[in-house]
């Protein structure tokens, strides 16, 4: 290698590395910004580890010596009551609870049971045992639930020396393991929602032997998951739902037969389910579960009959909060009420002479809790109410301190006390709900500022300063960042040490220091060279129509989040913008004077339009879209069949695109013709097995052993993941080329594929990643990704013919496509549309990082695919460049422009989530969209760094070695 070339190549390496560092630090800045915003917006509750005791008459005498608590996951209230005239498969199956409550009104009681959102099982179990309100941020931690550190009735039982037997959903095991009797604890994995029966069969297997030996345990907890899994898997309107509910009905009948006189039975649903069978949000269908109490002796003191009206699917039925179970159960079992409880006793379950005592004890516990909680203790209204209660109580009890006599002497006063205490519990709960939805404005503002700064830097970096200059400035950026870093750390560290800001721990202070260093590190060289006016005058981009259109798309997408209705219909709006782009391309294509170019361009524009419309046909409606939206995203035989079509069609269409530049050479036929086809066929095979496993009639007819099927599915999924994420990329790093020498007669040679050396080789890498995304997407999602890849390749041709490579419009349209396919792969910006079940594709149990990776790739697969294809805007269809550094610079500019667009969109979601933090819909619409925006921003930046650092770097360096001088 000549030394001159070596020096040049070395310079290329250094420049590339500096770019990677710059992009990485911008990503870090954004991650810190999102972190600050999230910390301020998703305020977490202060967890107190005090435990209540029975001192000072805080416990009642136990009314029952034993209790059986059976959780039927996703037992919605209307599942448990008769619904006249309904033929839905989820109605009128579980008849037993209501029948028993009708036949024995003093022995059994069925109530509506209101959950606090988020309606995910982990949060519900925490609420049902501690009596506290959940915070929004816990929802994401549903995976690795940690041992609960707040006071709860399971721990209270353990402290008293009672034995708790447990069987069912292993979330309990994660939360309460130390408190459960080890020899009577039977957890089963809960995440694999395909599996409808393992957990339930396990519960049944251990439940009845233990019921027969009540001397071994004091409280028995069973958690059935079947109903919930049927909902996730098939939705409520499926025959499996009837089968499952009838099974639950039968089991509950048997359980009641086994009970002895001194045992309380509680059957409860932890949440409901939406009409699609999911949960997590806060719609009435998800919030309204059922709870049922029963014992062999009369203990229920019902209110007036109109409270228990089951007409209109129980719309007017009396409801209690789920956290009300906590004081109720604790008092009935003679336990102290858990320290953090905010619930109130359920009136029907206490004898009239005991009810005021129960309410008094609860009020005293709530008051104690409030007194030690920083943000609650100063609330004078509530404290005043409590003093009023104390006064009433001492009047009733009198100086004799004989509670029973005092209550008996004045029934009217004790009724009034119950009334006042109920108001107190209720008001206190409402105030807490309000408080915990309170935000830390300083942190929110800091987060928004950091993201806004990163947007400014990206805009200057990507669009205002010419890419040639940026490639020279990269070194300056890195140097000045390193120079300012110690300063930032020291200053923020000092601020932390001296001023001691309330919400800033060491880690947060230092990360703010890092963020400051990054911002200053970028601004110093920029403003050293340029004045603000010069930069503003550089809005050179907006001189042509295409860039104006790109800017218009950014502005419109940013404005979408200003209104809840637009945010709800984001999917349609994005598709509309894409169609508009397609038509503009069509008009522009018709104008081309070169006839070949015109035909090519018109063809691609039409294909792009048709594909965009086709992709928009796949949609998973969100609840708010209501009847205006027809859901099409579901598992069906033709969706699985389409996967086979895709497996054949994708390699063919990619081949077609590559043949345009004659670059379907050497590595390509093997990589795409064989490799990609094989992987896609494996994908199709996986989802076929999944389909067989899900349809009962199929497996019955072919009598496939479930264990074999499961093993086969795991194997296939692991092979595809291993190949697509590992082996194939390792192979690609060795440098496959898509060129071929062809010798003509006259001893001259032609290099086939010379015109697309970078693009063709890079495409192989992009397809590796795309194939994995297609595996973890459900069948119609994979079809959507297939359409996406074709759209991207079509766009690359259009950009080339219409010379749009450098335009602002190119990366923006890529960004729009990513968002459009986020929706058409069966997602919405809601928690309940997360497809948790793909987590168990490669591992049956929750395994970091595979479970998380699957769910991430499933949810944000479209963004991943688009990021991987992004550098092709620059690299596609160009011959080896004599100036590789400027090529790297252009690729970086393109990536940074994409990042700029994503930053603008995410900034808008942050700003509007903050602006509308008091809006009725904040937790339904704005907050989930900001969470999605935050994840998208951070992950696209990470993807860009990977794609630019690994993909672009590899391909440019290799081509420079081969063709460079």
């Amino acid at each position: 290698m000549p030394p001159k070339f070596e020096a040049k190549h070395g310079k290329l390496r250094v420049t590339h590395a500096l770019y990677v560092v710059c992009l990485l630090s911008l990503g870090l800045l954004q991650a810190i910004g999102i972190g600050f915003f999230a910390k301020g917006f998703l305020l977490s509750r202060q967890v107190l580890d005090f435990n209540a005791t029975c001192a000072h008459d805080a416990c009642l005498a136990p009314a029952f010596s034993r209790a059986v608590v059976l959780v039927v996951d996703a037992l919605r209230f209307d599942f448990a009551i008769p619904v006249a005239g309904s033929r839905e498969p989820y109605h009128n199956n579980l008849r037993f609870l209501h029948e028993l409550a009708q036949d024995l009104p003093e022995h059994a009681l069925l109530l509506k049971f209101l959950a606090d959102p988020p309606t995910t099982t982990l949060q519900r179990l925490k609420g049902l045992t501690t009596g506290s309100l959940p915070t929004f941020v816990d929802a994401g931690l549903n995976f690795d639930g940690d041992v609960i550190d707040e006071d709860n009735w399971i721990a209270q039982l353990w402290r008293r020396g009672s034995r708790v037997a447990f069987m069912g959903d292993d979330t309990w095991d994660a939360l309460f393991r130390p408190y459960l009797a080890a020899n009577m604890s039977f957890p089963y994995p809960s995440l694999d929602v395909r599996d409808l029966d393992t957990v339930d069969n396990g519960v049944i297997e251990h439940l009845f032997p233990l019921l027969a030996q009540p001397q071994h345990w004091d409280v028995l907890v069973g958690h059935f998951l079947g109903v919930d899994h049927v909902g996730h898997r098939f939705g409520p309107k499926h025959s499996s739902m009837r089968v499952k509910q009838l099974q639950m009905d039968e089991i509950l009948r048997q359980v009641v037969d086994e009970l002895d006189d001194d045992t309380l039975l509680v059957v409860l649903g932890d949440h409901g389910m939406t009409r699609t069978g999911d949960h997590g949000g806060d719609s009435p269908e998800e919030l309204e579960a059922a709870v049922f109490f029963h014992a062999k002796r009369p203990f229920i003191h019902r209110k007036l009959p109109e409270n228990y009206d089951i007409a209109f699917q129980g719309r007017n039925h009396r409801a209690v909060n789920q956290i009300d179970l906590v004081p109720t159960l604790s008092l009935l079992l003679g336990l102290p009420i858990p320290f953090n409880n905010l619930g109130a006793p359920i009136d029907e379950l206490f004898r009239p002479e005991q009810l005021p005592v129960a309410h008094y004890m609860t009020a005293r516990q709530i008051n104690e809790y409030r007194a030690v909680t920083d943000i609650l203790q100063g609330d004078d209204v509530i404290n005043g109410m409590y003093r009023g209660l104390e006064k009433m109580w001492s009047n009733i009890v009198g100086e004799t301190e004989d509670v029973a006599a005092g209550l008996a002497a004045d029934p009217a006063a004790s009724l009034a006390f119950v009334e006042a205490a109920s108001v107190y519990h209720h008001t206190s709960l409402e105030r807490c709900r309000d408080l915990w939805a309170r935000f830390d404005a300083k942190l929110i503002l800091m987060g928004i500022t950091l993201i806004a700064l990163s947007l400014i830097i990206l805009t200057i970096y990507a669009r205002l300063i010419p890419s040639v200059v940026i490639s020279q400035m990269s070194g300056e950026f890195v140097t000045s960042m390193l120079a300012v870093l110690p300063l930032g750390l020291v200053v923020l560290g000092a601020i932390h040490a001296i001023i001691k800001p309330e919400n800033l721990s060491w880690a947060w202070s230092l990360s703010l220091g890092v963020a400051t260093a990054i911002v200053l590190g970028f601004f110093a060289p920029i403003f050293d060279r340029y004045s603000l006016l010069w930069l503003l005058a550089q809005a050179r981009d907006l001189r042509d129509w295409w860039s104006l259109f790109g800017a218009l798309c950014i502005v419109l997408h940013v404005l979408v989040f200003a209104l809840n209705s637009f945010t709800i219909w984001e999917d349609k709006i994005i598709t509309f913008l894409l169609s508009t782009f397609g038509f503009l391309c069509l008009v522009e294509a018709v104008k081309l004077t070169n006839k070949t170019a015109r035909v090519i361009a018109v063809y691609h524009a039409l294909v792009f339009l048709a594909l965009t419309r086709a992709a928009a046909l796949i949609t998973l409606c969100r609840e708010e879209q209501g009847e205006m939206c027809t859901p099409t995203f579901g598992l069906s035989w033709w969706a699985v069949a389409l996967l086979y079509v895709v497996a054949i069609a994708l390699p063919l269409s990619v081949r077609g695109f590559m043949k345009l530049t004659s670059s379907y050479q050497s590595a390509a036929p093997f990589w795409i013709g064989r490799g990609l086809t094989a992987v896609l066929l494996l994908n199709a095979f996986y989802w076929t097995m999944d389909f067989f496993e899900s349809g009962e009639h199929f497996s019955a007819r072919f009598s496939i052993d479930e264990a074999v099927l499961e093993l086969a599915m795991l194997t296939v999924a692991r092979i595809v993941m291993g190949v697509g994420l590992g082996a194939a990329n390792f192979g690609w790093a060795r440098g496959p080329l898509c060129i071929q020498l062809e010798f003509a007669r006259d001893r001259r040679a032609t290099i086939l594929g010379y015109g697309n050396v970078y693009g063709a080789s890079y495409l192989l890498f992009a397809l590796n990643v795309a194939s994995v995304v297609m595996l973890v997407s459900k069948p119609l999602g994979a079809v959507s990704i297939f359409i996406l890849i074709n759209q991207l390749l079509t766009l690359l041709e259009l950009f080339d013919v219409l010379s749009l490579r450098k335009s602002l419009a190119a990366p923006v349209v890529f960004g729009l496509l990513a968002t459009a396919h986020f929706f058409s792969t069966g997602h919405q910006a809601t928690l309940s549309s997360i497809q948790w079940e793909v987590g168990s594709m490669t591992t049956r149990e929750i395994t970091m990082p595979f479970t998380h990776l699957n769910i991430f790739l499933n949810s944000f697969g479209s963004y991943v695919v688009v990021c991987v294809f992004l550098p092709l805007i620059v690299l596609w269809k160009i011959p080896p460049s004599p100036k590789p550094i400027s090529l790297v610079a252009k690729a970086a500019e393109c990536c940074a422009t994409f990042a700029m667009y994503q930053t603008a969109v995410t900034l808008s979601t942050l700003v509007f989530a903050a602006v509308f933090r008091r809006h009725l819909m904040v937790w339904k619409i704005f907050a989930p969209r900001f969470m999605m925006g935050g994840i998208v921003l951070v992950s696209t930046t990470v993807m860009i760094v990977v794609v630019f650092g690994f993909g672009v770097g590899r391909v440019v360096k290799q081509m420079n070695k081969i063709f460079g001088k």
Binding site: I568, V587, K591, L592, Y754, N756, S803
Partner: protein
């Protein structure tokens, strides 16, 4: 480097040469000067009449029933447009030719509703339902926008090509064209109020697009008047 530089120079690859398109100038069919008669006030009247005849109560029915009215007024408008053109133009073609043009174009406009329908679908009109409404919208757009264009620019493909690519020299010379572009922009803007949660009857598909296009058509005429 193993490869000799000579080889590289003989390499062939696909390259598309882009020539700057130079527009053939559009022959204005008439020397239409600014005239209040060219302003399509009837578009405003029509859209107002649709609402008073119950557009919000029965979308498809009203849209279908009102098409004859639209056609009648558009025929009148066509006569106005042609007569304006006639004042200075040599009277090569007689009235008879005009009549043929005006009535034959009705059928062409009817046929043109089909491509407009497919454009609407490509832009995201519902495919599972509301097909009737979408097609009626296509009919309205065709008679409102395409029909006057047909009458004025007749059947010269090159002229139409220039119209479709916004390759028009003097907007002031082409009032109908300005109105038509404005009507399309109006229809494009018409989608934005649909998702709003105001629960108004006029948010029903495709009323906003209909109103947008009619208003656009009128506004285009007004804008042209002041050009």
């Amino acid at each position: 480097m193993a490869r000799k530089p000579v080889v590289k120079k003989l390499v062939s690859f696909l390259d598309v040469i882009l020539e700057a398109p130079h527009p053939p100038t559009l022959e204005p069919p008439s020397e239409t000067s600014r005239s209040l008669l060219n302003v399509p006030i009837h578009a405003l009247l029509l859209i107002w009449s649709y609402f008073s005849f119950g557009l919000t109560r029965d979308v498809a029915g009203t849209m279908a029933r009102m098409i004859p009215n639209l056609i009648l007024l558009q025929i009148g408008y066509a006569y106005v447009l042609l007569s304006k053109g006639k004042t200075k133009r040599t009277k090569k073609k007689g009235r008879g030719n005009d009549n043929v043009l005006i009535y034959a174009s009705l059928f062409v406009a009817l046929v043109a509703s089909i491509p407009i329908f497919s454009v609407l679908v490509l832009f995201g009109s519902p495919l599972y339902d509301h097909l009737k409404e979408t097609y009626l919208l296509a009919l309205h757009l065709s008679f409102l926008i395409i029909y006057p264009l047909l009458v004025v620019y007749q059947y010269d493909l090159e002229v139409w090509f220039n119209l479709a690519t916004f390759n028009v020299d003097s907007l002031a010379q082409n009032p109908v064209y300005v109105s038509s572009v404005a009507a399309f922009v109006g229809a494009w803007l018409g989608v934005f109020p649909i998702p709003l949660d105001w629960d108004r009857p006029w948010q029903a598909w495709p009323i906003t697009l209909l109103v947008g296009s009619y208003l656009g058509y009128f506004v285009g005429g007004v804008v042209h008047y002041f050009l």
